[in-house]
């Protein structure tokens, strides 16, 4: 139990009320890719621990309860129905009642636990159900996790608007760093510092914030060094049914471009959707008020539709009917690959506007916290070689997702197996990782990180020892003291021991933009993630491991 260390004791105290049965012996664990094993099951405040009792092997499985998406239990009190069973069956199970808990995890693994004793089984199931979906963030494991190899003195995070601004001196002529949001009062989901046009003062920003959904006034998120064009993102303008205008908003956008130039607005909704949005107070930038800006609409799914797509896809991947037609139609019905295609082609469009046409672009949808970030992140990967290194990519995620206010807590509360009624769950971040994987597959040399990193991030966003993906925005993280009380995932990934694993051995930096093919034929199911727990994927993992070892060995030999 070395992994839990000091946190262990306090945990037990706080969560003991939810744990009626902490230990059960003689439990049989079935998990993918392994033969069943018998051992002891232990439930703590944050973990499910299974230790193999068999001789010669001390296998332990430690599962964060937060990783558990859903459980199914079936209990049989066999004594009551003993006559239904054959003699052999009866004598084998005479010892009493038993139960089975099927544990479905957010990393898409499915485990089964056979637990002797009906009561124990029910107790365990109850504990898992309660502890796996605790709502209080401050009770979550990252607040208890104390790794021995990271010091809490370490700086939290890799990047910020301030850092980005100071690294891009070219920005300084026309852009400034504003701390109008230092107390999060102007825009609760923005970080304290943001980059805005130099000519726009804080008062104007405050007015613009009132005109944009959730106060998300347009801010700079990317500066294209090659031609000085920028990507901005924001929330939708709140024009409403009577086409309200906001001079300050128009002024802000005008300040982004030269008077003679024009810019593009990429709206991640269809033109029909934006018309409807006006009825609920939202809207779009009209041609008459924003004459220098050209609007482009690309409809991207989000929210519930995306979550349902994931559920269908995972269901299809688990289908055991051995029927090719069924698999292919289920894959098609899930629409997941269509979402991948749309995301990549919208990002491609954005990058084209900036890199090829040489125009600045503003991206938004409704809130500007989901599809907007998906598109702006992918476009930066396409255009900017700095984002394609391991550190660069993590810094990009920190700026464009963590600090830009993607509500991780809401979006990643549940994954594909949950029976709970959907609220705000949506696999937007997972979709991003899938798109990055497609890029990685099409440009195996251009990205400095490995598929293993994407797989790791795909799980860390849902459950983690680290505080990085906790909460929904910077303000919430600040209120809970996340940066003081938890550890930063990104720093941990960059430790020399870990870094090796997440580096692409074939990486060869290129300064060119990497334009992904978005032909449906070019996009593939991310098997490494969605079919991770099937045997064939394991052979591939072994092969990749082989390559990796070889490269590491090579590095060592070359050094000595």
């Amino acid at each position: 139990m070395c992994i839990m260390r000091q946190g262990h004791k306090e945990e037990l105290m706080e969560f003991s009320e939810h744990i009626k049965t902490a230990n059960v012996e003689d439990v049989v664990l079935h998990q993918p890719l392994h033969p069943p094993s018998r051992g002891t099951l232990c439930i703590t405040g944050h973990h499910l621990l299974f230790s193999d009792r068999e001789e010669n092997s001390t296998r332990q499985i430690l599962l964060l309860l937060r990783n558990i998406d859903a459980i199914e239990k079936s209990v049989e009190n066999l004594l009551g129905y003993s006559s239904l069973f054959s003699k052999a069956d009866y004598s084998k199970r005479i010892s009493g009642s038993s139960g089975t808990i099927t544990v479905k995890c957010k990393d898409l693994r499915v485990l089964q636990l056979d637990i002797p004793g009906m009561e124990q089984c029910l107790n365990i199931a109850h504990s898992i159900e309660t502890l796996s979906c605790l709502n209080d963030v401050s009770e979550m494991y990252p607040f208890f996790y104390r790794p021995s190899d990271l010091s809490s003195q370490d700086q939290w995070g890799l990047s910020s608007s301030e850092k980005y601004y100071s690294e891009h001196k070219e920005l300084h002529k026309r852009w400034r760093l504003s701390s109008v949001n230092r107390d999060y009062s102007v825009c609760p989901s923005y970080p304290p510092a943001v980059i805005v046009p130099k000519d726009i003062d804080d008062d104007t920003l405050k007015k613009v914030a009132k005109f944009r959904q959730s106060g998300r006034f347009p801010v700079l998120c990317y500066y294209h060094r090659k031609n000085g064009m920028v990507i901005m993102r924001g929330g939708q303008p709140l024009t409403g049914a009577n086409r309200k205008r906001c001079r300050e908003d128009e002024l802000l956008l005008q300040a982004v471009i030269d008077s003679s130039d024009k810019g593009y607005i990429i709206d991640t909704r269809s033109s029909q959707q934006v018309q409807q949005a006006r009825m609920t107070g939202g809207g779009f930038e009209s041609k008459s008020s924003y004459s220098c800006w050209k609007r482009l609409h690309r409809q991207m799914e989000k929210g519930k539709a995306l979550q349902e797509s994931l559920i269908k896809l995972v269901e299809a991947c688990g289908d055991e009917s051995q029927n090719m037609d069924r698999w292919l139609s289920k894959l098609e019905n899930s629409k997941w690959l269509s979402h991948v295609q749309t995301a990549l082609s919208t990002a491609g469009l954005l990058a084209e506007c900036v890199e090829r046409d040489g125009h600045s672009v503003l991206v938004h949808g409704s809130e500007g916290t989901d599809c907007t970030l998906l598109v702006s992140t992918l476009a930066q990967l396409i255009m900017d070689p700095c984002c394609r290194t391991l550190e660069g990519f993590l810094a990009l995620l920190e700026r464009e997702w963590v600090q830009a206010g993607h509500p991780f807590q809401l979006r990643c509360a549940h994954s594909a197996y949950s029976h709970v009624r959907l609220q705000q769950e949506s696999p937007v971040f997972l979709l991003l990782l899938d798109c990055v994987w497609q890029l990685w597959r099409q440009f195996p040399l251009a990205l400095g990180f490995s598929e293993a990193l994407l797989l790791r991030l795909a799980t860390e966003a849902y459950f983690s020892n680290y505080g990085t993906f906790l909460c929904n925005n910077d303000q919430e993280r600040c209120a809970l003291g996340v940066k003081e009380k938890t550890y930063c995932l990104f720093h941990s990934l960059l430790k020399p021991t870990e870094k090796e694993h997440y580096t692409n051995p074939l990486y060869e930096p290129t300064d060119l933009a990497i334009w992904p093919s978005v032909h449906p034929q070019s996009l593939q199911l991310w098997r490494g993630f969605f079919l991770r727990w099937t045997p064939q994927t394991r052979h591939l993992e072994e092969a990749q491991e082989e390559i990796r070892n070889m490269v590491i060995e090579w590095g060592k030999v070359a050094l000595s």
């Binding site: 090719m324 690959l337 269509s338 295609q341």
Partner: protein
């Protein structure tokens, strides 16, 4: 020359060539009896040399006096030639049409091709049945090599030498041949060293509607069973199809007459259905609509992946009977020249590590496809773009290669060869300068004197440079049986063939090169380390001072 009359315009200047993902080339187009050549006459620009036999179909388009010919190749590539001058364009087009569909085998290019390389080992002699039998003899004495078919009279599609049970004499074989479709009496296809079980293949039994039986046939296949053991007959047709075959003189091994054998029916599609499937698949792959749903439904509607899955499943079943159940197996469908060979050859890939080497795989193709009488000439006459009515065409061999690729993908370290080897075999089965895939059987090849008049593909492949190109850098000999996953989720579209010309492979190729480079450098350094260690050890023994610190 005979071809001259078919070529009205042998040369056109100012022709522009468009190829996917490559810059356009302007140059001179030349037609010869066997090639379409486009040369820009500049250094550093690649010339196009296309075998007429590689051309599946062409389309002509005219804009004013500028004509375009769209050339669709059997290797699935599509190129466009812009030809100034309507008459020239029409002449070229009609020449290509005529030259790409020559019926006479003896006019084909392999008979005219002279190798530009030194033939070190003549591929025609590399895989003789008698040599393969020597290996078998070292493992068992239960089989003999029969010459009953030495003049191809007993079974026209068999080679002159076949391995049969020792106790069965040639007289019996002749009788059995009359009872099996195409004279294809059961012969040895594979001997499983681990447990002495065997796999045989044959044509269907000709029981007909009145349930004819043949004692000799029963005797032959029973002779392959150990005392008290049962065997499995894997019929690649559904039970319904097999029953219907009786009306046309075919049939099945009835339980009453073959009590020691258990029949299993599997449904593997053949002939026209497969050809249509290929046509649909290639059409789907070339779809430019950018619509994900449309692509996935077209992929599904082509049924190609289903065929891959069915074949692999049946091959796994055969392998399982032999390795896991410890039983011998007889495989057949109708003729025993198509689906039967897919199953027997894939089962060997699964069971036998030696088939997963470059040379071993050649041996397998030679034994189980060429000598076993797969009618390559008929099956590969047309590919996915042909407009003419399909006759005997069917991508049976391509499906086999696709299945091998699926296993290769699932076991990336267990094969000595890389994907390019499979792509190479696909290309050469459809159009080649080598004689290997000409003709439909050993008898036809002998009649055409191919070994004397043409060069074998193996002569070219088994040279150092080619072997190097085809070697899988990740290979680590694996002596185990490898069980592929046949779950639909595990099977992928073979991009290397079907999307080869629809995507730029530049980045993928670069990554592959880089990987090869790393692995080679690694080996080099490892050798260096070893030699330094040896030097150090030597110094230590020579210098007693170093020994005692």
């Amino acid at each position: 020359m005979e071809f001259a009359e078919l070529i009205k315009t042998p040369r056109v200047d100012g022709v522009v060539l468009h190829r996917p993902f490559l810059p356009t080339v302007e140059g001179t187009l030349c037609l010869t009896g066997h090639h379409l050549i486009l040369s820009s006459r500049q250094d550093n620009t690649e010339e196009l040399w296309l075998l007429h036999s590689n051309i599946d179909s062409i389309e002509k388009r005219f804009v004013g006096s500028l004509g375009s010919i769209i050339v669709k190749c059997k290797d699935l590539r599509v190129i466009q030639l812009d030809i100034p001058g309507m008459e020239e364009c029409l002449n070229i087009a009609s020449s290509i049409e005529a030259l790409s569909t020559l019926d006479s085998v003896s006019l084909m290019y392999p008979f005219f091709y002279r190798p530009m390389f030194e033939v070190i080992e003549d591929g025609w002699n590399s895989f003789l049945p008698e040599d393969a039998f020597k290996d078998l003899e070292s493992m068992t004495d239960e089989w003999r090599l029969s010459e009953v078919n030495k003049d191809f009279s007993v079974c026209p599609s068999y080679p002159p030498l076949v391995a049969v049970p020792k106790d069965i004499d040639d007289e019996t074989l002749r009788k059995v041949a009359t009872f099996r479709h195409g004279g294809r009496f059961p012969v040895l296809s594979y001997y499983h060293k681990k447990n002495g079980m065997v796999m045989m293949r044959a044509g269907q039994p000709l029981t007909g509607t009145n349930g004819r039986r043949c004692k000799e046939d029963e005797k032959l296949i029973n002779a392959t069973l150990r005392p008290g053991k049962r065997g499995y007959i894997i019929d690649t047709r559904t039970i319904n199809v097999a029953q219907q075959a009786k009306a046309r003189g075919g049939g099945i091994e009835s339980e009453a007459n073959y009590p020691q054998w258990r029949r299993i029916h599997k449904a593997i599609e053949r002939s026209n259905v497969l050809q249509e499937s290929l046509i649909k698949l290639v059409e789907a792959c070339n779809d430019q609509s950018h619509n994900m749903d449309r692509w996935l439904s077209k992929l599904e509607a082509s049924n190609w992946q289903t065929h891959v899955k069915e074949i692999l499943t049946t091959a796994c079943l055969a392998a399982q009977c032999i390795d896991r159940e410890g039983a011998s197996v007889l495989v057949h469908g109708t003729e025993g020249t198509d689906t039967t060979l897919q199953v027997t050859s894939l089962a060997q890939i699964i069971l036998d590590p030696s088939c997963r080497t470059i040379r071993g795989f050649q041996g397998l193709v030679e034994r189980e496809w060429l000598q076993a009488g797969h009618p390559f000439q008929q099956r590969c006459a047309q590919s996915a773009y042909s407009n003419s009515k399909p006759r005997q065409e069917a991508p049976v061999f391509l499906l086999f290669l696709d299945c091998v690729w699926q296993i290769l993908r699932q076991f990336p370290c267990s094969f000595e060869f890389s994907e390019s080897y499979l792509v190479l075999l696909f290309e050469h089965a459809y159009a080649s300068q080598f004689g290997t895939f000409l003709g439909n059987s050993a008898a036809e090849r002998a009649k055409l004197s191919l070994p004397e008049k043409t060069v074998s593909l193996w002569s070219w492949v088994n040279r150092h440079q080619e072997i190097e190109r085809l070697t899988n850098p990740l290979f680590e000999a694996n002596s185990l049986v490898i069980w592929p996953s046949v779950a639909p989720q595990s099977l992928l579209l073979w991009e290397g063939v079907f999307l080869r010309w629809n995507r730029s492979s530049k980045c993928l190729d670069e990554a592959y090169e880089e990987m090869v480079h790393i692995i080679e450098y690694n080996k080099e350094l490892q050798n260096k380390v070893n030699s330094l260690r040896r030097q150090l050890a030597q110094l230590e023994t020579e210098d007693p001072l170093l020994q005692t610190p």
